[in-house]
Symmetry: C2
Subunit: 125 residues, 2 copies
């Protein structure tokens, strides 16, 4: 594992993003800082950073993966109209996890919660 300027750039870009960007979006933002960075490098480093636990991968139904600077347990909401992806603080998720663990006997290492619907801004229109 080596410290490269490319890896730092990918991490900085994700940490500066509040919109749960896709790999392609992260690539575009990286190129603004480091124009020679390649898409493959972005994908590889995203994977490395997820493995290191520095960022988190978020799966959105019917779309490519997104990335999140917040690694702690929380839920996501995707608006069907505007496509925005927002964090949803849900402090009862840990209780939910624990309940499933004790009921099923499974070992749970990660939980993905995605609500799909219409956000308040779009509802107001």
């Amino acid at each position: 594992m080596r410290n490269t300027a490319q890896r730092d750039t990918v991490l900085k870009v994700v940490e500066a993003s509040c919109d749960h960007p896709s790999a392609e979006t992260i690539y575009t933002r990286c190129r603004e800082i480091m124009p020679e960075i390649s898409l493959g490098t972005v994908y590889r480093n995203l994977k490395v950073l997820v493995e290191l636990g520095k960022i988190r991968e978020v799966s959105i139904l019917n779309a490519g993966d997104r990335y999140d600077k917040t690694v702690g347990l929380h839920a996501h909401f995707r608006c069907k109209r505007c496509g925005c992806v927002l964090d949803v603080p849900a402090n009862d998720l840990e209780t939910l996890e624990k309940g499933v663990e004790s009921k099923t006997g499974f070992q749970i290492d990660g939980t993905e919660v995605l609500f799909v619907g219409v956000c308040d801004k779009c509802r107001a229109i």
Copy 2:
């Protein structure tokens, strides 16, 4: 909207499956019953059946979409070791949804909950 033998076959195959199959797997199973069915037809009918609310689409982090005959609100668990996808009855999901709706003002139309970990069979090994 026409009633075709192909659509019936796709629906029957999903309803007969307990393993949350992928589109490709559904295609293979359909061909055992109807050898001339094409992959595009399977994809198109899966989409139609999801829109009709007869089956459900399940997103698994880091893999293609899966399909589920059970449309009611429930969670899923994916084992990192054997790759199996199982239903997790979670009756507190509705409470979770309602809580988020009232806290955020969002309209929630669907909720996806995925636990990732190690299933009891794999833990025993």
